[in-house]
Each structure stands twice: as C-alpha cells, then as structure tokens.
C-alpha cells in the first residue's frame, strides 16, 4: 500500500505560554518551542504500522517555507517514513485551508497513493484540510479515525463519536482519513535516528513544479484571513491562591471543606 501522510510543524501548546506581540497582529514567535503537530505524528505511526503488515511505502509531505519544516519531515523519516517531500513557494504564503488543500491535491496527482492520512486538526487550524482534499479528489473521507483495519481493497475504520462510542464504517480505496490522537503509540525518535537521515535528500516542489495556479493559493486565493490576535475575554476568572505552599494548601483545604469536597 502506498500511503501519503500530510504533516505540519506547529508551536507546541503544551510547552509554551503563548503571548501576543506588541502590535497584536501575531503571537510572539521568537522563543516558541515547535514540534510536529501531534495528531500528524499518530498518522505517521499508523501508516508505518500498516505498511509493516501489508507492504508498501510511506511518504510524508508538508507545505512549509524553511529548513525547520524540513526538519519535521526528517523527524518522521527517522521514525521510518521512506520519503519526505517539501512543498514550498512564496506564492503559498498566507494560504487558508483550501489553499493548502489545492497545493496538496496537485502533489497527490503527481503520484499514485492508495491512502492519504492527515492529523485530525492542527493547533491553529480547523480540522479541514483532509476533508477538503478528499472532496477535491472525489475520494471518500472519514474524520476522527481511531482504528483502521485493511479488508481486501477496502478499509474498516472506526470514528470517534460522542461519549467514547465508535462509529464503524467501510470505506473504499483510495481515500483520505483524518487521524485522531490515541489511535496507536507513536514510536520514540532518538537523536541517533535523526542523524541517520540527516543527509537524505528531501525534494522540494514549488508552484510551477506542481502546476498550481499561484492566484488560487496563498494570500491571493484566501477567502479566510486572520485579521489579528487578542487575549480571550476572561470569564469570571479563578481566585488565584497566593502565598507560600503551606498557606496555599491551608486555604485550599478550607475551601474544599466549604464546598463539600472534604468531609
């Protein structure tokens, strides 16, 4: 099975306190810790496990602009992905979800893939590129996928629905699936593994290589644009307990007694 996994590099929310820049038009990016978008990493692991059973290759692709995006591809190649491809062009900057899907579609059509995986959503994104890509290709699509079983020329996939229930579906190949976190346990990638793929060539394709109309993507083609960032209006906000540790604990115990949490 030939599997393409679409990945992205994002600021790691669990590692960062996100701050606004003074102009309010972006977040402070200087000191941010970036990593692969977490659901994308699960998608790569799932592809690797499928190929280990059924044979085939795994290609990881990202739409990005610089060396750091290439590093994310190398990280996934260190996990075991066979190929990494960077789609990069100034014309791609400012793309909305549809723009990204147009670029990916052009790349998909240069090759032949049985299965295309994405992460269910990105930190700043909207759980959209996979579903858009599928519609553009006229492939069937399933979102929030938390298990995949190969069944002849089809897949049996389960989707995560409300209350921890699972919706079981049969889906024809080729198809696009958006992968939910928790579907597997992504393997650890050490420095040694990353060094081993450090010199592997990562081909880069731009708009003209892909035959993408520059006016349909990037800022020019975007119907959806971020205007500014702002800090969310606080709800009532928590009463923050201050003081040394012993004081904080004493106050908390009193409050918990009063609220029925400690009898």
């Amino acid at each position: 099975m030939e599997i393409l996994v679409c990945v992205r590099r994002v600021p790691d929310t669990s590692e960062n306190e996100i701050q606004l820049n003074p102009a309010g038009n972006d977040i402070e990016r200087d000191d941010l810790v970036y990593s692969i978008n977490e659901p994308d990493n699960y998608a790569v692991e799932e592809a690797l496990q499928m190929v280990a059973k059924a044979g085939g290759t795994v290609t990881v692709v990202t739409v990005g602009s610089d060396d750091d995006d290439e590093e994310v591809l190398r990280r996934e190649m260190a996990m075991g992905a066979n190929h990494g491809v960077l789609l990069s062009d100034e014309a791609f900057d400012g793309s909305d979800g549809k723009g990204i899907a147009i670029i990916l579609k052009a790349f998909v059509q240069k090759g032949k893939y049985d299965l295309i995986l994405t992460g269910v959503q990105a930190e700043d994104g909207g759980a959209q590129v996979g579903g858009m890509l599928a519609a553009m290709l006229d492939y069937p699509f399933a979102s929030l996928v938390n298990s995949i079983v190969v069944d002849g020329g089809k897949l049996k996939v389960s989707r995560e629905i409300e209350g921890g229930n699972k919706e079981m579906n049969e889906i024809d190949l080729p198809c696009v699936l958006s992968i939910q976190t928790g579907i597997n346990e992504p393997r650890y990638v050490g420095m040694r593994g990353i060094r081993q793929v450090a010199s592997v060539e990562v081909p880069t394709f731009g708009a003209s290589d892909l035959g993408v109309d520059a006016s349909a993507v990037g800022d020019a083609g975007a119907k959806v644009k971020r205007m500014d960032y702002f800090m969310p209006a606080l709800g009532k906000g928590a009463e923050m307990l201050q003081g040394d540790r012993a004081e904080v604990i004493a106050k908390l115990i009193e409050l918990m007694k009063a609220k029925g949490g400690l009898n």
Partner: protein
C-alpha cells in the same frame, strides 16, 4: 445578505441542543435574518424533528431519503448540494458530524469555510467578522471570511447562547424530490458503544482529574493517593488516555464521559473546550497548573500555579493530617 441555513443534527427523533444555538448565531450575522432549518433523515424520527423545529424556525426544509436514515456525511453532502443554493451561509455544529461534513461541502459548493467559530461580530458587505481560538484556547483571533460566494461555518457547541422567544408556527417544506441519486464510497456499519470501566467517574462527588501535566504513567499514583485521601475517583483529560496511562472510561470530555461532581480538581489540565464540555452541573473547580496562562484558570473557581508533581503529594499529606486530627 445571503440566506442563512442551519443544518440540524438529530438522534432518536430529537434535535440536537445546537439547533437553538445555530438560530442564535444566525441573528448575530444578520439581526433580521430568518434562518432556514435543514434536516435530513427518514421516517417518523425525521418527521418528529421537523415538527419540533417549526416551533423555533420559520421555515424547515425536510429532506427525506431512506439512504439518509443514518447521517453519512458523504451522502448528506450530496443531498445538500442538490437542495441548497450555493451562495447561502450554512451553519453547522462543530462536533463529529460537522467535522466530517463541512470541509468537503465547502469545496463542492465553492464556498468559504471556517471551523470552530465561537463568536460572530457581524458582517460588512459580504465579509463576516468571526472569532476563533488558537493554541489550545490560549489566544483568540478575529477572522475575516469572504462569504460573497457562500460560506460554511462550523460553530463551537455551547458558544452561542440560545435566545428566549415565544414558539412560532413555522412551515415545513419538503425538499426530498430535489435530492437525486445517493451513493457513497463510505458506508456506515454499526455503532460500538463504549465499554464500562472499572470505576464509574459519573457517580463520584469529588474527582481528582489529571492531564498532560502528570507527565508519566508512574505519576498516576500521586493522583490515586490524593483521591484516596478525599474518597474521590481519578479521572483525566484526553492526552492521558492517548498515552494509555488511564483507560478511556476515565476520560472527561465530549469524546469521553459527562460528569457532574460537586468538586472537580483539574490537575495539570489546560482546559480545552472539548474537555470542559464534559463538566456539567457547575462544580466547584480547583485548577492546579504550572502555566499561569492555561485557559483552565478562566473557568476555575480557584487557581494555583504550581507543579502538580510537587503540589499534590503535599496536599495529600496535609489532608491526611487534617483527617487524623478531626478523627
């Protein structure tokens, strides 16, 4: 202004809570709007939903087709493409069905798409000014959406407050004849109901809930000890289940359990909206997190900035002392 449609999800003959939220959101786009409810399905359940909805929508478009008895997003998309005008604004709840349906629908309708919208600040011409959150809710963003060729907006459940109003006497318009042939590359098989776990977190008055901040499986014991001292149960947020540190039955949130404890201790939990959606009945929320910017502090009653791995054991031993004194 383009017509506004609200796609209504339903189950067992009952419309989803989002039905009233979508109506409220339509009024934020255009105060004079009279949004049309759009419902797909089959048989008596569909009729029951349409009948309910005409109490709150002036117009209900009913799309009956046996193939739509279970809401398969690919089939629903094909039906909507044939029924809806392609320059309309379509509102959908941003839950598992909307995530499945809307991105592809937007491509096929050649409409703009914005997901997980939690605020609408009006329209300027054909441009909608919307509010979204990014980075786990740590920052918000204004987004401009060019709806001149139509737009699909997925709205966050719970973000739009339903408006009170007297019931109206809407009309049901049967659009079933416009649907056309329905086939899909994906077929629904069955729904597998979640397994009951070792501990029923929905029955506990006090929950010690752990998130990513617990850092590793061995540290779950720290939460177990605090729960033991409080006669509470240990629950968790999604990353803890993803890492297989606790079973799915312990997860609080829209894809896990809905709980209604008296006291909820959110330990190392950032507070995503999917997690908070599982908290009902206004519990007293204690948030302990080392990131002072964690969104959980916006909704908690009491907040403590601390590393839970240090804080929880100290709290546990103090509670044990307190109990010994009072015993």
């Amino acid at each position: 202004m383009a017509r506004i449609f609200a796609y209504i999800v339903h189950k067992g003959g009952i419309a989803d809570d989002s039905a009233a939220e979508l109506a409220a959101a339509a009024k934020k786009i255009d105060a004079a709007a009279s949004p049309v409810a759009v419902v797909t399905g089959w048989g008596a359940e569909l009729d029951a939903v349409c009948e309910t909805l005409r109490g709150s929508y002036a117009e209900v478009w009913k799309i009956a087709n046996q193939a739509l008895v279970y809401p398969n997003a690919e089939l629903v998309r094909k039906a909507l493409l044939n029924v809806l005008p392609h320059d309309g604004i379509v509102l959908v709840s941003h839950a598992h069905f909307g995530i499945d349906l809307s991105p592809g629908l937007a491509i096929k309708m050649n409409s703009a798409f914005v997901s997980d919208v939690l605020g609408i600040e009006g329209a300027e011409g054909a441009n909608l000014k919307l509010v979204r959150q990014e980075f786990g809710g740590q920052v918000s963003a204004h987004v401009r959406c060019d709806a001149s060729a139509g737009a699909i907006l997925n709205l966050r459940p719970g973000a739009f407050k339903p408006q009170e109003g007297a019931p109206i006497n809407g009309v049901i318009v049967d659009k079933s004849a416009d649907v056309g042939a329905l086939t899909a590359g994906r077929r629904y098989l069955e729904t597998v109901v979640a397994e009951a776990g070792d501990v029923d977190i929905t029955k506990h008055a006090v929950l010690v809930s752990v998130g990513r901040g617990i850092q590793e499986k061995d540290n779950i014991a720290i939460a177990e000890e605090l729960a033991d001292a409080l006669c509470a149960a240990v629950s968790c947020s999604r990353p803890v289940v993803d890492a297989k540190w606790l079973p799915k039955s312990r997860q609080v949130g829209s894809s896990g359990k809905t709980v209604k404890p008296k006291v909820y201790m959110a330990c190392g939990i950032s507070g995503s909206f999917q997690h908070l959606a599982g908290l009902k009945g206004s519990p007293f929320i204690v948030a302990i997190n080392k990131n002072p910017k964690a969104p959980i502090f916006q909704v908690a009653d009491v907040g403590i900035v601390a590393d839970i791995l240090e804080f929880l054991p100290e709290l546990t031993s103090k509670i044990r002392e307190t109990k010994q004194v009072s015993a």
